[in-house]
């Protein structure tokens, strides 16, 4: 299954009613087995999103683990939510934003620098261009283009209004078009 298909499956689970969330061969609400099931489903996707915002695999792993630690601590409550996956994703994004902000405060010189060794088939130009964006725009771009979420969900995860999310995306696209030498033909709906 492709990662896109997997993400689609998550989102179907997230949108479903509480009883439907755990109906796919999963035991009753709130158990350790349910947590493990959600972990296996969501951890890789959340970590990829975090990586695309912070551009550091080790840090992405730490941040994602910390988000799931929080999920485990609040599991009794969060497991009753309609979309526990969205909850942990929101926590992970928030932790990532903090980490990016700390990095930028620590050293303005590192701002535009990518790690010396980029593993695998990364699109170095796209990553560098995204890295030049402010952190809110970064997160909006990753949620919109990578996770393929509608603006309303982007806003929900980023804890801002739809209009604000739309502004972040609009500005990010304009800047990315300039950096990548592409023409921004389409616009954010």
């Amino acid at each position: 299954m492709s990662s896109l298909a997997v993400r689609g499956a998550f989102r179907d689970h997230e949108r479903g009613p509480v009883s439907g969330v755990w109906s796919v061969g999963a035991p009753g609400v709130g158990s350790a087995a349910e947590y493990e099931w959600l972990f296996r489903e969501e951890f890789p996707a959340v970590m990829r999103t975090v990586y695309l915002i912070c551009h550091d695999r080790h840090r992405a792993q730490d941040i994602t683990q910390d988000a799931f630690v929080q999920l485990l601590r609040h599991w009794d409550k969060v497991s009753r939510y309609e979309r526990p996956g969205a909850w942990v994703r929101r926590v992970a994004i928030r932790l990532t934003m903090r980490a990016v902000r700390r990095d930028r405060l620590r050293s303005g010189l590192e701002r535009d620098a990518l790690p010396a060794e980029l593993p695998g088939p990364v699109d170095i130009d796209v990553l560098r261009a995204i890295r030049a964006l402010p952190r809110m725009q970064r997160a909006a771009v990753v949620l919109f283009y990578f996770e393929d979420r509608p603006v309303a969900e982007v806003a929900d995860i980023m804890n801002c209004s739809n209009a604000t999310a739309r502004v972040h995306l609009h500005r990010a696209r304009a800047r990315l078009a300039e950096l990548l030498g592409e023409e921004a033909l389409e616009d954010v709906p």
Partner: protein, 195 residues
């Protein structure tokens, strides 16, 4: 290629370098959560221990401060009494003097001196004054009492009397009392213990 397409493809390709070891990550998350819980519990126990220690060390001082904030009772008849005089006594006040007649004091009086300094007085039916809130204080052989303080002895300080008990009998001798009605009731005759 459009910008949107390039972003989608670029992000998708770049994300493929992230392939976490999920079971290993799960065990790490569980360990971290356990450590966090232990740290929290240690923190709570430490806080509770510090709170108890602080209360133990500062408690007496806090009590002193609280006590110092309470209003101080005036040095008048109060709860410090001698149990030697506590009991119920009765006397008959004769209608001889003008102060007795004017204040309708003649008749049988009963006085219960409680160990806590409270005096309960029962007057003859002819007396219509206030008899509540009466208290007394004993220091050695001297007794101070504020009987009639709320009406016919209003404005006068509590009266001071020498008391003497012999068997069932209790007698008062005035030491200092500017209220004639009180002197008349307390010293007109001998008080007899009735319980």
């Amino acid at each position: 290629m459009s910008l949107d397409r390039r972003l989608r493809d670029g992000l998708q390709r770049s994300s493929s370098v992230v392939d976490p070891d999920v079971p290993e990550s799960l065990s790490i998350v569980r360990r971290k959560a356990r450590r966090l819980v232990v740290r929290q519990r240690v923190g709570q126990v430490t806080f509770a221990a510090l709170a108890v220690a602080a209360l133990f060390l500062a408690g007496p001082r806090i009590l002193d401060v609280v006590r110092s904030l309470r209003p101080v009772r005036p040095a008048s008849p109060g709860p410090a009494v001698s149990t030697a005089i506590a009991g119920t006594y009765t006397t008959e006040v004769p209608a001889g003097s003008s102060v007795v007649r004017d204040n309708h004091l003649a008749g049988r009086w009963t006085m219960h001196l409680a160990p806590n300094g409270v005096v309960t007085v029962t007057a003859p039916p002819s007396f219509t004054g206030v008899l509540t809130g009466v208290s007394y204080q004993v220091a050695g052989s001297q007794l101070r009492i504020d009987l009639f303080l709320q009406d016919i002895c209003g404005g006068a300080p509590p009266g001071a009397y020498q008391w003497r008990r012999a068997g069932d009998s209790l007698t008062f001798t005035v030491v200092n009392d500017s209220c004639a009605a009180r002197v008349a009731v307390l010293t007109s005759g001998t008080w007899t213990s009735s319980g």
